[in-house]
Symmetry: C2
Subunit: 208 residues, 2 copies
């Protein structure tokens, strides 16, 4: 008759810390940033509105944890995209870009929070910073392989990476922010645009 006690979950709630992150993530994906208020998160997790403050200093700290979870999801997507892609640099670049943009379209509010450096001071949340860097490192390594195995121009791979990242991040965010209404509801057109971006990028980074 006792509530089923799950192993390794301490204290009253079980694992309120993660439950709050999960609830916040759900609210964010459903109703956007406006729908994410602390009291609703607490209600959804089945605790009073004061309880979250035992696990997060303030709302920003919860947002940072949610953003970190977002980066973990993004990294997972990028890794799958890399594994599934054929072993050519161009295909891996394209596959990664597709995963990045599709993730952004799928979870626009989360994407927005993840990259809202204005509201979330990254240095205040070191684990968020390092997790986001994991995503960047994936691209750096990809570019490095491209420099070694293909005819990419030489130079600091970080610079090449920033160009590539800017290209694909720009496309992703323009879609997230609904700046491209003419193709917003046309997955095929979006795919064509991703392809065109990556083709242009590849051409531009290739040695002549």
């Amino acid at each position: 008759m006792l509530p089923p006690k799950i192993a390794n979950k301490p204290y009253h709630h079980g694992d309120l810390h993660n439950a709050l992150i999960a609830a916040g993530l759900a609210l964010l994906n459903e109703g956007g940033a406006a729908a994410l208020d602390l009291r609703k998160v607490a209600r959804q997790a089945g605790v009073s509105h004061g309880a979250p403050y035992r696990h997060f200093a303030d709302k920003q700290a919860l947002l940072a944890a949610i953003a970190e979870e977002g980066f973990e999801q993004l990294v997972a997507r990028l890794q799958i995209a890399l594994e599934e892609a054929p072993n050519s640099f161009f295909d891996q670049l394209l596959s990664t870009a597709q995963a990045y943009v599709r993730f952004a379209i799928e979870k626009p509010a989360l994407m927005r929070e993840m990259f809202s450096g204005v509201t979330i001071e990254r240095m205040t949340y070191p684990t968020l910073y390092s997790t986001s860097k994991t995503a960047l490192n994936l691209i750096i390594e990809l570019i490095q392989r491209g420099q070694e195995q293909e005819n990419l121009i030489p130079g600091d791979p970080i610079n090449l990476t920033l160009v590539a990242w800017s290209q694909i991040h720009g496309l992703a965010m323009l879609l997230v922010e609904k700046q491209l209404p003419h193709i917003a509801d046309d997955p095929a057109a979006i795919d064509q645009l991703i392809r065109f971006c990556i083709q242009t990028l590849y051409n531009g980074l290739a040695q002549k």
Copy 2:
């Protein structure tokens, strides 16, 4: 002894509509989006907190007006950049990109609001939409000239424009959101990165 009556300014305040936009813009540039609350805007304009509702349906409407003003400022910058640049396509592209990124760095919170399609439904604010399109048209025309006068690849100029826009918008937003901390405080490094992005873009869009 009467307050100085300014010509063409109706009713009590003078021009509260524009005063509110100006005050909001100032708060946004100083303290970021978090600092922009309606009551503070009203206080700064010297009216009660109920007054703004005679000019804007709600906070979003004011934000839309501020964003529109932002696009007007951006368009002005882009036009100056185009006029000042030498008459070569590459230089004009570079100059435009520099103006875009510098504007973003200078007024990050405004830039954020301008492109926050999630919070501001563009179709609800037609003048905002058309003003933002003016900025885009500048780039489309630039690309078209590049296709006519230089060796850019053929095809729908809109597609080329979206690639170029994504590239430079991505760079601008990564800087705005403080995702590139290593170069955030180094204008020379930023300038180098802009140049590298545009060089890569130009290479990629050029006919081989």
